[in-house]
Symmetry: C2
Subunit: 350 residues, 2 copies
DNA sequence: TTGAAAGCGCTAACAG
DNA sequence: CTGTTAGCGCTTTCAA
């Protein structure tokens, strides 16, 4: 294998260029005042030796490492990825590097990660997870700032960036009301799950504001397609009339969609359907494609990283920060009029 | 915020314990010979100051950083996650930390990441992606070992750990033949996609060994449910008789499943169905649950990390290493006899 | 058993 | 303009 023996050091570069290490350092970092010719010689030597300054040695002076740790409390998955990507963007894609640590729901493991991250002198830590539940802080009096993304810290003084799930649910209901649906059912996840409760409460509340209520109490169950199908069956069997179902997740919505169709109900003509998560795989698999609430996870990650950077630079933003969700309307709530207008290119509005 | 001002240094510890830094170092690392009383004093001081040795400073001597970089060539997603987790396990969960870099399919970005990883003096690099295609090496003559996982390097001398997709396809066919299905169709992804081609070729080959052939040429299309449904329609419309469909992905299989059921075919009685990927979401959503080929991505990640560690320690394993896939049998190919026998707990066999 | 000193790779004062 | 020196936090000889 054409593998080099070792990394070149600045001493090697200086020697090759025939200058002192101090001069080499200045030349490479564009500091001090040097003859252009000298600078060039040093740079050539560096290139020739494939020199990359040792970040660790450099950090020793600056006190900063330009790295951050990201700990996922449970397993890394569908929710953590977009958060991670958003964070990566905000951290300048390589300007600062990210240590990824998968806590796997094990507090011991998590504490171990916190320790190693601290020993690596990360400039800060982002904590994320797949539930929006508040969780115990990963530590108190840590020597570096911590920001919680998606998940939030139980300590209200910690900085947490979370999706406004209640707002998202309200937008879903707004939309259903706007298209003339007033007999709405709600099928969602387990009632011991924070997201399920919050979304259900907001749904009920929003309807109450209009003097309306759900056609039946929220159906709490699981997050799966199977539960969606089962719940749809319960609804149909009860004889309750309904012209819309707002689901706590896209998976549930898909199960509902399949079950309703099998029972002869047309979507959206007979029943309009709204999901939550805006998860492409489920959205596209459903017939017709699902209208869904998007939590803007990537934006969440970006915001969390920005706040972390600010905190590192001495401007922390303690407290719980909620970011708006937005509704993505598709055919499960609207019959398209001929060809839909082409939307202009560019980043999706928030 | 109860944030500490700065990290304690070994000098602080030594001062508090009333010893020299050298002694403190020995005490904390269990080296040299010291009075037990001294060791205790130092350790107490360290605990009191919340001391965590600065890994960067330590690395300066050892020459190793106990970190590795992981670069995903395209976007990090469904395939990279298990690979990452496997790697994390093999790297001792914190013993060595992982820098995660999301290449997003941009070669410039990728090269940038390689540079920063090298400047951070990672001990090695793992490259992964979401396609099994061979790709250009991320660099030549790099000063650290590189292992490709899932994806493989175009340079046969590089170390790549890949799934034996052909073997997986053969196992699927073996199984279908074993349950008495001889009229098999194959629906898969785009023919410009390596995985689709390899799996189709192995399928045809395995059948040929038995003097059989597919009931129709492989149907190449996309990886989506939509394509699965469409292809099933083509198959049904052509009047070709078939008693099994082997699909290039679980998403396709799910589309096929829905379409066949809608057309009145029973699964598995009339048509047995096998997918590829063993992706829980798709598997569980399908009715009945899908038999599928599992590529053991986590094992792939583990193996890649182990080979990387070996290479770091001077024992590289150049070349392309294929890991076996295994078939997970579910109800889309078998009618369960009463209650299925409870399988003993423990790690799933490979 | 402990301390002093050198050095890992680099930056930053300060002289020359 | 360039070289010398000190020091970042730690480990590791080598003396004491």
């Amino acid at each position: 294998m054409g593998r080099l023996e070792r990394h070149a050091t600045i001493t090697d570069v200086a020697a090759l260029a025939g200058v002192s290490v101090g001069t080499a350092s200045k030349a490479l970092n564009g500091r001090g005042s040097l003859r252009e010719e000298t600078r060039r010689r040093v740079r050539d030597a560096a290139r020739q030796l494939n020199f990359e300054a040792n970040a660790g040695a450099r950090n020793l002076h600056s006190g900063r490492t330009y790295t951050v740790g990201m700990i996922t409390t449970d397993t890394i998955g569908r929710f953590s990825i977009p958060v991670l990507m958003g964070a990566e963007d905000a951290l300048g894609a390589g300007e600062m590097s990210i240590f990824l640590c998968d806590g796997r729901g094990d507090p011991i493991r998590e504490q171990y990660y916190v320790k190693t991250l601290l020993s690596r002198r990360v400039d800060g830590i982002i904590v994320t997870g797949r539930r929006t539940e508040a969780r115990a802080p990963i530590g108190v009096g840590l020597p570096v700032p911590v920001v919680y993304a998606f998940i939030s810290s139980a300590d209200p003084d910690d900085c947490s960036v979370v999706p406004d799930e209640a707002g998202g649910a309200r937008k879903a209901i707004d939309h259903l009301l706007a298209i003339g649906r007033g007999r709405i059912a709600h099928i969602t996840g387990p009632d011991h799950h924070n997201s399920a409760r919050v979304r259900a409460a907001a749904t009920t509340e929003r309807l109450a504001e209009e003097g309306l209520s759900l056609v039946a109490p929220p159906l709490f169950g699981g997050w799966s397609e199977a539960w969606g199908g089962q719940a749809a069956g319960i609804l149909l069997g009860s004889g309750t009339e309904f012209d819309a179902v707002f689901c706590g997740s896209d998976q549930i919505a898909r199960g509902v969609s399949d079950a309703l169709r099998a029972a002869g109900r047309r979507i959206p003509e007979d029943v309009a359907l709204v999901g939550f998560d805006n998860w492409d795989v489920m959205i596209e698999g459903a017939k017709p494609p699902l209208t869904s609430v998007d939590m803007n996870l990537q934006g969440l990650g970006r915001s969390a990283a920005e706040r972390l950077l600010a905190a590192i630079n001495g401007s922390p933003s303690p407290g719980r920060h909620a970011l708006p969700c937005h509704l993505v309307v598709r055919e499960s709530t609207t019959v398209p009029l001929r060809s839909p207008p082409a939307s202009p290119p560019g980043p999706a509005g928030q």
